[in-house]
Symmetry: C2
């Protein structure tokens, strides 16, 4: 089968690899219908995130169950499934507390965890999913192909945007929030904030296309400046800093921008992967800011978001502004790396149409 392999920084290849097989009785094999390229894939591409050995990349995928192990009870071949970016066993203390991201048996698809482990990723024709019953989420029916992009956002970015809003303290309607980051997570965070009843959603963006998408998602204000200037604009718009700020980039610059936009005693939800960021803690301390975040608990929030995606009331599909045949993964990575597109979707040959660019 075909799979995307990240061999090293700036070295993405699509190769023939062995098709995965059931290895333990709780595994499932999923035929991938569509896979996303994530901003955090770019961290590996750029040599920033660890890449100790070549890896089958991709932690965002949806597909159709091909086969299940003997102990899988809740999932049948033929079902459509949405996969979180990490496995979870459903039974450990963290899973029971609603923190499947910290599951004792978590492993990440297509990227390395802090312990150096990694599963083969989903940018491939097939993928093996351990702990299938407690990792995968099934849809009631086979969804229409037009829903694939929106469903694919649930594997990571929409769930992450939702948790970002929660981390930033958006617990009641009428809130005002600043979102630093106009990428897929930032765009999904706009939707999440609107969904949670935010009254004012201010998005930092300098890119007209991304500004348009943010407005479509519910942004009420766009700020195109940076640094101190952007913080001054927030103060002018809100009559002070914001009680709620979402940081959806993960660089020192973006975190400082978030700090600058926060009012004293405010809350920053940080969900951008902060590779190599060393934060001068005094900057938080001096404004009495709270920081809350980390990787999203996709498996825990999916049951809440999935029905709304299926009935169309939550539509994050607009973040996928680039669709590529799986074999064109290098171009997809490049398009995202150069910010030619917000987010790229990869479609394996079985689901590609004649133009090679559409899932069916």
């Amino acid at each position: 089968m075909r799979a995307v392999i990240l061999h090293g920084p700036n070295d993405v290849r699509v190769e023939d690899v062995p098709k995965p097989r059931i290895e333990t009785p709780t595994d499932a094999i999923v035929r991938v219908v569509a896979a996303g390229v994530c901003g955090s894939d770019l961290w590996m591409l750029r040599g920033i995130a660890p890449l100790p050995r070549p890896i089958r990349s991709g932690h965002e995928f949806v597909g159709i169950v091909e086969d299940v192990g003997a102990n899988v009870v809740g999932i049948r071949p033929g079902q459509f499934v949405v996969a979180p970016f990490n496995t979870s066993d459903g039974g450990c203390m963290c899973c029971r507390r609603g923190l499947p991201i910290a599951c004792d048996n978590r492993t990440f698809f297509g990227e390395f965890g802090p312990d150096g482990s990694a599963l083969d990723g989903g940018q491939a024709e097939f993928v093996r999913v351990p702990f299938a019953d407690t990792t995968l989420v099934t849809t009631p029916d086979r969804p229409h192909s037009s829903l694939i992009p929106a469903l694919l956002t649930l594997t990571d970015v929409m769930a992450t945007g939702h948790e970002a809003a929660k981390h930033a303290g958006l617990s009641e309607p009428g809130s005002r929030v600043v979102i630093v980051g106009d990428g897929a997570v930032g765009q999904c965070a706009v939707l999440a904030c609107r969904r949670l009843g935010a009254e004012r959603i201010i998005v930092m963006s300098r890119d007209p296309r991304r500004q348009r998408l943010a407005r479509k998602h519910g942004a009420t204000d766009i700020i195109a400046t940076r640094g101190d200037e952007s913080a001054a604009e927030v103060v002018e718009l809100l009559g002070g800093g914001s009680a709620h700020v979402i940081e959806a980039v993960g660089t020192l610059q973006s975190i400082r921008q978030a700090i600058g936009c926060a009012r004293p005693g405010g809350r920053i939800g940080y969900v951008g992967l902060p590779w190599g960021v060393e934060l001068p803690l005094w900057e938080l301390f001096a404004k009495n800011l709270a920081l809350s975040g980390g990787g999203a608990n996709v498996r825990a929030v999916m049951p809440e978001l999935l029905p709304e995606v299926l009935d169309g009331t939550l539509d994050p599909s607009g973040v996928f502004d680039g669709v590529f045949a799986l074999d064109n993964a290098p171009q997809a990575f490049e398009a995202m790396d150069k910010r030619h597109c917000i987010k790229a979707m990869l479609v394996p040959p079985a689901f590609t149409n004649n133009e090679g660019t559409k899932y069916e």
Copy 2:
């Protein structure tokens, strides 16, 4: 009058200086009964916190009102007052939100704010207090001298310990909490956690005297190891990391220890002044930790804590294990710097007994 002047790193002197006078109609002049030496004074002493020019030090003091400006309405000469470490105007947005630490008109006594401003401090015979009505807190009567040490903790460390517990999320009885730091703030945090109903209070301490005080304050367990080893002990005691951790030191090492002791998704209340600490944000992100803290809102929490100190149900006086005549301030600073005492109290001549070491 006599006052302590910090001239530079390791240069503490007690000198004759002009007695302060009313400068604006909202000022009060306070005759100091006792002043504390704070761990953050040591940051200046050690050349770590900025000391752009010599300063009359001391941000912890209690005393008797000597004089008030024409616009002071709620405070009369002769009243006993407890002073927070910063001024607050009571009317700005932050004050109205319960964040007097971030008051638009805040200035710190005896130390420099981020804007470089500073008020003459309270390690002196007299001190001028701007915004007296909304900064100072009066006691109903002149308290017995035996209550002075406990009242003095309300100016900073007890209030800070209380806020640390709140920041760490101790909102309901029965919680389990780890406290990193066995100094005055850590010791007060033990009292605060017990007061908030914590069932298990684990304190990191290697010093037998400090361990004893922590136990007296309500610590249920003491851990004397450091780093990974201490985190392993917490996991063994609690069957996992702690949902609530208090960081009351402010070094990279102590913050990492707090992170190590936290369970995934846990909350760290950070109240140790983190001068020069650059935190690898990934370490928080990887465990989905929330960090909440900053300088204490002393003026806001004092009304809650003061009655309990006055009736003896809350007694943090044990943190003061060294009492020095004001003129012996250099020895007091040294005793704290060398960890010979947890916290030193300075007593001006008018309140010093024949031995020169007791307020009266």
